[in-house]
Assembly symmetry: C2
Homo-oligomer: 239 residues x 2
């Protein structure tokens, strides 16, 4: 799995190296361990739609997205897809698999657009953890955060409706970047829909409602948040 599109050894640009050095996954390691991990790491270059790994398959790597974005998703027998999360540059994924029975991952990962992913050797990674409880604590913190996120997600799915989930998603996405109130959707809307567990038609209608209420405006593939306070109010009152 995931071996066809690999370049090794890794030659990384400096800004990528410093991105990685700051990753919560790696920052607790010594410089030496960090270098050794990089030496053994592989770059996966994926075309849009290309799979990185499939559910049920054991993984020998822990991943960090370097460019593009990766969807992590479940698939039912009938072919229905549910996107659990979307990893963007700097974000790690499949780190919990390293401690799972048989290292089997229960999810699929595929590129939503042309992407580069770095895969660290899981055995080597575990080896370094064995020598360093402080690194273990760093990883345990990461796993704890992951659990917290999933608990909140269950919360949103069970106690809140589709509109709430979309508004929450918009405000979350809005948190990170460059102050301006414009969110660029760099993936098709049906991807956002799957991420939010609604049908594309429903997402379209909800966006229309919010537009009609004067809370957002839509143009191209960008959503401008007109009334952030109003959106925030929707999260506390309704849902």
């Amino acid at each position: 799995m995931a071996s066809e599109h690999v370049d090794v050894p890794v030659k990384l640009k400096n800004h990528i190296v410093s991105l990685l050095r700051q990753s919560p996954l790696l920052q607790a390691f010594s410089s030496e361990q960090f270098s050794l991990l990089l030496e053994q790491a592989r770059i996966h270059r994926l075309q849009e739609g290309e799979m990185l790994f499939r559910q049920g398959v054991p993984l020998q790597e822990i991943f960090i997205c370097l460019s593009g974005c990766i969807k992590l998703f479940h698939m039912t027998a009938e072919g229905h897809e549910k996107i659990i999360s979307i990893a963007s540059p700097g974000q790690n994924f499949a780190e919990a698999v390293m401690f799972a029975e048989g290292n089997v991952c229960h999810m699929n990962a595929a590129a939503l657009k042309q992407a580069e992913v770095i895969g660290f050797n899981a055995g080597q990674f575990r080896g370094f953890l064995e020598t360093s409880p402080s690194s273990c604590f760093s990883v345990m913190g990461l796993l704890s955060q992951h659990i917290q996120w999933l608990l909140d997600e269950v919360d949103r799915l069970t106690l809140h409706n589709a509109t709430f989930r979309l508004v929450y998603f918009l405000l979350e996405t809005h948190k990170h970047p460059n102050y301006c109130n414009i969110i660029s959707l760099d993936v098709p809307k049906h991807v956002i829909a799957s991420r939010l567990s609604v049908r594309p038609e429903t997402l379209s209608r909800i966006l229309k409602n919010l537009t009609d209420q004067g809370l957002i405006t839509l143009r191209d593939h960008k959503i401008e948040l007109i009334d952030v306070a109003g959106l925030k109010a929707m999260l506390s009152t309704e849902g």
Copy 2:
């Protein structure tokens, strides 16, 4: 929080001690560390409905249920409750909180029936982890399992319907115990409903359907699985 109903120091029956010794949470520790954890542990005796801790409050303990059962649940501003999971004797909970920002737990815990819970000192626990990477690995394995369970739960909530969730729940509950096909619900049905994210009325109707189909029978607060193969078939075909 959680200090009113505490007996300390702990005096435990032998079978409880051996239950604890086998807990995935504790088994990686040395006998000495295990004893020291027990020395600092507190027993919480809870009446039915009594809270163990509330969301938003920092926790200084990691818990294992000794008797009775504990519901772990979210609560919305409007007072709607969603039970995430139910801990029965031997099961640990709130172990991830120990690595969270400010040790803040985002869930509530309360007794579903008269219960005893042992709370280990989280600081001491972390201290022992610092001395032992192998214990860390044990905990990371536990956290990884927790993540896996939550991912599956998201899966069931988004890709499957209420009937699927109930049938899955019945078969999961059936896995553990003493071969016989009778599941005793030792909690009110509305608790099961909340756990499955359906309304009590809906649960009642689904149980009726399954009964009409000859898959189960209901009497008292027991569900007898008549056609286990038929139930399993429902998980693969429909959902």
